[in-house]
Symmetry: C2
Subunit: 501 residues, 2 copies
């Protein structure tokens, strides 16, 4: 067996372990009895520990070196696969095992403290834990940065989005920082003239909501032979290769958020279900990174499923499922509900227009923390000042401020920017897709997503990790990731620019 | 760290991997989308392969030898734990890795062929696969027998029930073979005088059946903080340490089998939930073996929950859940339904009285196959002859004969006897329990299982694998496993012997 073939076997094994962890993680958030949490943590830690041991074993380094020396005989996908193997190995071996363990334990403790702190809106409960987590994250950033030749924050970014760098983000986020306040103000003035959309009211039984969600998942192209829809406190897309499981949560008095959440997670799931079939067990068969992953969820949720076209498909579906309460929601009303702009404190509740402000703030703060320019003790004040600055809101307490997200307590520094970069990519991809495939927009009104999904499959999903995010974007849209399409999309949808009256 | 302590760490890791596999196996039978089967098989094979590698690693043998040389410093539980570690290692290391893999693949292929063969009632479809599986099972039996100093069939038995030997089984099964036909005939004549119990008829909505099942699980003592009840095609008790999951299946027109299935699996689950808390991650904390495991399910299902006392508790529960259809079933009718004797072709549908005949037949056949005295080609004929002999039934086709069970295609030779040994142990334990705790029988009528569960916890569950099956039986009942109590139980329940008129 060649060194490369031996590596393929090793990584298939790692994939199987990762998939096992994926199902166990899904179960923990959906069905697991409460008393089983400690045992499940042990199972997941064991799987992760074994995976790490296999990946950083001396034999793996030897195989990588040998395979790289014989790389001339590999085809393009194999060569890309080998690059991704090297990348995974570099990340894993850059950090000493005891630091991995210490960081993992600190994050677990901080997540538990965070739940308590948020419930009590008491930052002091979280503070010492977050200080630990930040210290370890900075150490990890330094260690990986040294190994990869990157600045610490770039090394952290690279964990979630291979190749993503601060220098790539800053120009886009700087432009947004300049333009966003005016856009939000103008959008709100325009909507104020029309008045607020009517409140959604009625009885929307959970079983009917679920049926609508499943029906729309099928409409979008979700394959239920290789996935499920379930319920969890925090919606997510998880599971395993060939077994992609999304979740939502239901409120019997208002289906709107739950339903859009299903469409969002379905976008993630379609990416997973569309990964290149021949490479499913290999790193090159992975989704490229969190920017493109979020682009797929937001392309479905924001670009495709908040269009007037889709509302024409959605309205009769809702009328069929919810009777008179559903029929009250005509396409125009649905569109107004689903594009209503209203600044608020909570990121996950934010509308499309104000959402980037939440990310800009977190990006600034986490860079400053990683760079050592912002102490954890000063986080609440800095957070609140940023909210005032960006959205004009006075944060009433830390639960509505810097305690709202689990990311930092969980150790995920470098993740937040991918939300808005995903929105940016979604706009660029949807623009290119609709230009290339004239059947896409009319299809949305007919509940025919095949033209859209076909384009995404060919131009994004089936690419796996064979190229960088920018290479995939450029091949799909003619240019690397940039904010022009996103800016145009927001101005069109919220200011009416470039739309025929 | 001492060698013993290092072994505890290793076995805790193996337990975590086994628990992960337990949840993944549960998921595969309850929720997994059909297209995910191949990926799941890969995940499970990877977990098993890694566990096997860790267990048979040279360092493990070194640690065992070192720990055994220092065993004088261990307390009784640690010493028993070390014995169990050695046992696990001996079983695992006796079989070369390629044989493990070959056997596993042959079993997977045979299980798939079996589904097809059973559906078509065509033994020819299974035959070549079963020949492969049997060949590998015989090889495994020889290899383990050599390593453990046992005959091949004893080595196979030992996999499922440590310490169980053919010489221990034969006297009990020989007696049953002699007595059972007369017992069945006499029981049927006695029941014929009373006429058949009325057919169960009515509407028994699945949701209500599920609620009854959960309520009775709580009554028996099941802890829903550490377990679940779900639905699967084939009922089972699975899951993980501290996360014990049982399943049943429902028929809307007849709740009786499903409900008794829940009580059976609850018996298994209570054993798992009652394992010694301080040793949950260690081999000595395991349930002792399949005989005692089945004894716990059958003690609940057959001994406790088919008594006249329990029927007095059950009848009003059913009336509350199913209205008039439930109220039609008074305690006496329920008791007649649940103790009705009727020979049939299918083992899993058999009543308590005829069930052992199915096991005696399988025991004879599998010993003969393992010993090389019965060729797979001759299995159908031998099976049918045995059914005629033991139950007087003419098997109409192989689906109702030798194709009905998955055990042999799955490679489980040496498992069947534990079903009847479990019934034997259940009778002996229940007799001892009710003699020791006068509150047990009245408790059954009140839905108060605490006296019974308390006795089982102390005398069986909390013993884990600290002693052999016979040691646990002797400590609990005053004598090793034997059929006296079982015989007396059957004669009492089905012939009315020793029961006040």
């Amino acid at each position: 067996m060649t060194a490369y073939a031996a590596l393929e076997r090793l990584f298939a094994r790692l994939r199987a372990l990762g998939d096992a962890a994926g199902i166990l993680g899904w179960d923990a958030q959906t069905l697991m009895p409460t008393g089983a949490a400690a045992g499940r943590a042990e199972q997941l830690a064991t799987l992760r520990g074994l995976s790490h041991e296999l990946l950083v074993a001396p034999s793996t380094a030897d195989l990588l070196a040998e395979a790289e020396s014989g790389a001339a005989s590999l085809d393009a996908w194999q060569a890309a696969n080998l690059r991704e193997m090297r990348r995974a190995h570099a990340h894993a071996s850059a950090v000493p095992g005891d630091l991995v363990e210490a960081e993992s334990k600190a994050s677990s403790a901080a997540e538990m403290a965070w739940r308590e702190a948020r419930a009590a809106s008491d930052f002091a409960i979280l503070k010492p834990h977050l200080e630990d987590v930040l210290r370890f994250a900075r150490e990890v950033g330094r260690a990986k940065g040294q190994a990869l030749g990157l600045a610490p924050y770039d090394a952290l970014l690279d964990q979630y989005d291979p190749g993503l760098r601060r220098a790539r983000i800053d120009p886009m986020f700087d432009a947004l920082r300049t333009e966003l306040p005016d856009l939000i103000r103008a959008a709100r003035e325009r909507q104020a003239r029309d008045g607020a959309p009517p409140p959604v009211a009625g009885a929307f039984p959970v079983a009917a909501q679920r049926a609508v969600g499943e029906a729309l998942m099928r409409t979008l192209g979700f394959d239920f032979e290789r996935g499920r829809l379930d319920t969890s406190l925090h919606p997510f897309c998880g599971g395993a290769t060939g077994d992609v499981r999304i979740t939502t949560r239901y409120a019997a008095g208002d289906f709107t958020r739950s339903l859009m959440g299903v469409l969002h997670e379905t976008g993630h799931a379609l990416y997973e279900q569309g990964r290149p079939a021949a490479w499913l067990t290999q790193p090159v068969g992975d989704a490229r990174g969190m920017t493109l992953h979020e682009s797929q969820s937001l392309l479905m949720e924001m670009q495709a499923c908040r269009t007037p076209e889709f509302m024409r498909h959605l309205a009769p579906v809702l009328a069929g499922a919810f009777g008179a309460d559903g029929a009250a929601l005509d396409p125009d009303t649905l569109q107004r509900i689903y594009t209503h702009v209203a600044p608020g404190f909570i990121r996950v509740d934010a509308d499309e227009c104000t959402y980037p402000a939440h990310i800009l703030l977190r990006y600034d703060l986490e860079r400053a923390m990683v760079d050592g320019d912002l102490a954890v003790a000063d986080l609440p004040g800095a957070f609140d000042a940023g909210m005032k600055d960006l959205l004009g809101l006075v944060v009433p307490d830390d639960a509505h401020g810097c305690l709202q997200d689990i990311h930092w307590p969980g150790g995920a520094f470098g993740y937040f920017p991918t939300y808005t970069l995903g929105a940016v990519a979604a706009a660029q991809l949807f623009e290119a897709a609709t230009a290339a495939e004239p059947g896409i927009r009319p299809g949305l009104a007919e509940g025919d997503f095949r033209p859209l999904l076909g384009w995404l499959r060919a131009n994004v999903h089936a690419k796996g990790s064979s190229g960088s995010t920018d290479e995939i974007m450029e091949a799909a849209t003619g240019r690397p990731l940039g904010i022009d399409s996103y800016r145009a999309h927001l101005r069109r949808r919220y200011l009416g620019e470039g739309v025929a009256a």
